[in-house]
């Protein structure tokens, strides 16, 4: 069963084709015009000043050879750029977009339309800007990306409302409504179609009114209002009959048949399908004959009239071959949706057409339709193979585009996830710190509380000694009070530093480089990481050795970032020595041995000054006596997400983050030296 939106899409496409044919008399797309213009162009029989309009018309009318048309568009762009003719430059990009679209190159087509929009904006040409949006929307609509298509249609409609160009607006509204039908947003579609209809009525543009009525009818049919549907489609059919436009009538009739079939009114459905068939046969519309006969076949089958069903199935098969060829044309037309007719031409056409008599119009229309049909037949015959390969290529192209979009989406998802993971790695290391922080804060608080209580006692005693007149005792007490005050102050600052460090650690961005006493920084993080681990694992134990070179002084670094590196490296070091320790004690089954005979987990952090002309940098070495890193994974350890820890215990981002912080953040180096069974050394080199 054909879906109604699909029918409507075809109608919409045909509407555009019809529009082009109808406006032929002035300067609509016409291969004959292109052929004669190309003679002028090739013989260089033109004035220099007319080259730009000539190229524009040539490109516009060249519908047979899209590659050639694309060349014209590129030439138009180059020449108008040289002569700084912005109007033609814009037209050039717009035409390039339409030609690329016809060639199935949707991405570059989008790029061209975007450029044309930019130029239109600069030139404050609202009509051209709106047409650009519309064209982009058409591409997305054909590619079934309806949310993006909807966005651009809204842009187009919004922009065109501001321009004085009601016909462009009506066309955008019609196509936007058509796109909405596909995603079954009927209320907005109805608004668009109604507005388009009102515009066409105001401009007295019969076919436009006919299509709008038909579209409105389809919306009613979809929303279950069959009475209104029939009324509107009935009017549409009579208007389109006046205009000898039978193709869409056939489709409307089929969509009616669909609606009745859905309602279970098979007899009515058959009636509409039969009407469609007879009309299609009358005007030799092969695709419509095939559609209607297929529809009738399935309807009769439902009615258990197998004889009739078979009869229409045979008819369907008979027309299927020619249908395949028509589909080729259809595909090309599909890529041709949009507004090739510039609005100015549209305006002139309407004015001109109003002046013509009805009779002239009819004759002209029939002649042109016949001419167009002739061209199509010739095209089918001469380009059959070419077109079939074009179908395949278009399908492949489309598939490639879909795959590309999928890959791009996956990539952006991955990038997003990676960013989240980096943030969560930072938070995880904050979690590792929290326990250490709790411990580190309780200790200074212990001193602050107790020394301040002591001072209160001491002050009372001092008051007592004053009364006793014992100056020596008073002096001793005051000295104690002073000492205690200093201790309170010192531990208060310690707590402050811890909280600040914690806040800085949780910050996602790097912060500012500042002169930092890196020995003090490392000492602080050493304590935090050690106590953090101790808090989580009671059995954890390691000897820490420090060898700080005091001559390093202050280095300009990102303190919290560098702290994060040290934290990562130390956490890893503690982890490996602990692993080795657990392994050893498993084998020996010994209790605690304090004499140091067996394995003693040891982590060393050492700093050295590297003297140089510009003040000198520093080398920081973190050594553990764990099991070392096997050679086969040594080149992987700085890769993101690489971890040897059990699932859930490591993010695999610690070392890669550290590597980035040292190399990218500080212009330094992070190297590793390891020996199996003996341990590992991480060497950080920071420039001065």
């Amino acid at each position: 069963m054909r879906s109604i939106p699909m029918v409507n899409k075809l109608i919409s496409i045909f509407f555009i084709c019809f529009f082009l044919i109808y406006t032929h008399q002035v300067c609509a797309q016409d291969q004959n015009i292109a052929d004669s213009l190309s003679k002028i162009y090739e013989t260089k029989n033109y004035k220099d000043s007319t080259i730009l309009p000539l190229l524009k018309d040539l490109c516009y009318n060249e519908v047979r050879d899209n590659k050639k048309a694309l060349q014209y568009a590129n030439e138009l762009i180059t020449l108008s750029r040289q002569t700084n003719s912005l109007k033609y430059l814009r037209a050039g990009y717009f035409l390039k977009g339409t030609k690329l679209r016809m060639l199935g190159q949707l991405d570059p087509a989008l790029a061209s339309f975007i450029t044309s929009i930019e130029l239109a904006k600069q030139q404050k040409n609202l009509r051209a800007e709106g047409d650009g949006y519309s064209s982009i929307a058409d591409i997305y609509s054909v590619a079934n990306n309806h949310s993006t298509a909807g966005f651009y249609y809204r842009q187009a409609i919004q922009t065109l409302r501001k321009s004085n160009d009601s016909l462009s607006l009506a066309a955008a509204l019609s196509n936007a409504g058509d796109d909405l039908l596909k995603v079954r947003i009927f209320d907005t579609a109805m608004q668009y179609f109604s507005e388009a209809k009102a515009i066409y009525e105001a401009r007295d543009y019969g076919s436009g009114i006919g299509y709008s009525l038909g579209n409105i009818g389809v919306v009613y049919a979809n929303t279950g209002n069959l009475y209104e549907a029939e009324k509107n489609i009935g009017q549409a059919i009579s208007i389109l009959e006046e205009n000898h436009d039978y193709y869409p009538i056939c489709d409307y009739l089929i969509s009616f048949s669909d609606v009745y079939e859905e309602k279970g009114r098979i007899q009515d459905a058959i009636q509409y399908a039969a009407r469609s068939l007879s009309l299609a046969q009358q005007y030799n519309l092969n695709e419509q004959v095939a559609n209607a006969s297929k529809k009738l076949s399935s309807l009769y089958e439902k009615n258990n009239n197998l004889k009739e069903s078979l009869h229409f199935y045979k008819m369907y098969v008979q027309y299927r071959d020619s249908l395949n060829n028509l589909e080729t044309v259809q595909k090309m037309a599909d890529l041709r949706t949009g507004f090739e007719v510039s609005q100015k031409q549209g305006e002139v056409n309407i004015l001109t057409s109003q002046k013509l008599t009805q009779r002239n119009l009819l004759i002209a229309s029939v002649l042109i339709a016949a001419l167009a049909l002739g061209i199509i037949v010739v095209l089918i015959k001469s380009n059959r193979h070419k077109k079939q390969s074009f179908i395949v290529l278009t399908a492949q192209k489309k598939q490639t585009e879909i795959e590309k979009t999928k890959a791009e989406t996956a990539l952006s998802e991955l990038t997003k996830t990676q960013k989240q993971l980096v943030q969560s790695a930072k938070l995880a290391s904050l979690g590792e710190l929290t326990a250490g922080i709790a411990h580190e804060i309780q200790n200074p608080l212990n001193f602050i509380n107790n020394f301040s209580e002591l001072n209160t006692e001491l002050i009372n005693e001092a008051t007592q000694e004053i009364e006793n007149g014992n100056v020596d005792a008073l002096k001793l007490l005051l000295a104690d009070i002073t000492d205690n005050e200093q201790k309170i102050n010192q531990h208060g600052k310690r707590a402050d530093a811890i909280v600040k460090g914690m806040l800085q650690h949780s910050r996602s961005s790097g912060g500012v480089k500042e002169p930092t006493d890196i020995n003090a920084l490392f000492d602080e993080y050493l304590r935090l990481s050690y106590h953090g681990l101790r808090a989580r694992d009671k059995s954890f134990n390691a000897t820490i050795k420090t060898d700080f070179d005091a001559s390093i002084g202050k280095l300009t670094v990102l303190p919290q970032e560098l702290g994060r590196v040290i934290l990562n490296l130390l956490t890893n070091a503690f982890y490996v020595v602990d692993e080795k320790n657990k392994e050893k004690s498993k084998h020996t089954k010994e209790g605690i041995n304090i004499s140091g005979e067996k394995y003693e987990p040891t982590v060393t952090i050492a700093t050295h000054k590297i003297p140089s002309a510009d003040g000198g940098g520093a080398e920081i070495i973190i050594t553990d006596n764990g099991n070392g890193i096997p050679e086969q994974i040594l080149d992987k350890i700085f890769q993101p997400f690489f971890t040897t820890k059990p699932t859930g215990q490591g993010t695999g981002l610690g070392l890669s983050m550290s590597y980035d912080i040292i190399t990218k953040g500080h212009g330094g180096e992070l190297k590793v030296e390891t020996e199996i069974g003996k341990g590992t050394k991480f060497i950080i080199t920071l420039p001065g």
Partner: protein
């Protein structure tokens, strides 16, 4: 009566000396200090059965307070000294572990010295 205080925080010494200055002055109590579990064991080795009460922090670099506790309670001749644990982590896990290993009491930081004084007096 000698009390051995084990903590890696250096200022603990000043704190205890001041907090217990009256008791020290009256020679009710005597304090010695060790800054690690290892140091505490060494002291106890050298001054056997001198310290009758040990106050130990749990989180220290190297040997932890719990290991020290275990060592004292398993290796020392009866009666082993009274061991009270002091920690910044007042969590159940630490508490249960300390009790399992035979701790005589469990205190959390910040230390309430009035409370501690009373406890010391009853324990001794």
């Amino acid at each position: 009566m000698k009390i051995l205080v084990v903590d890696d925080e250096v200022d603990v010494k000043d704190l205890f000396l001041q907090r217990f200055r009256k008791e020290i002055k009256n020679e009710e109590m005597q304090f010695v200090f060790a800054y690690s579990g290892e140091e505490a064991l060494t002291y106890m080795h050298e001054h056997e059965h001198e310290a009758v009460l040990i106050l130990s922090d749990i989180n220290m670099p190297g040997m932890s307070g719990l290991e020290l506790l275990k060592h004292i309670k398993t290796k020392y001749e009866k009666p082993p000294p009274v061991v009270m644990m002091i920690t910044a982590y007042g969590d159940d896990e630490n508490y249960n572990e300390a009790m399992k290993l035979g701790a005589d009491d469990f205190l959390t930081k910040p230390v309430d010295f009035n409370n501690l004084k009373e406890k010391l007096k009853t324990k001794l």
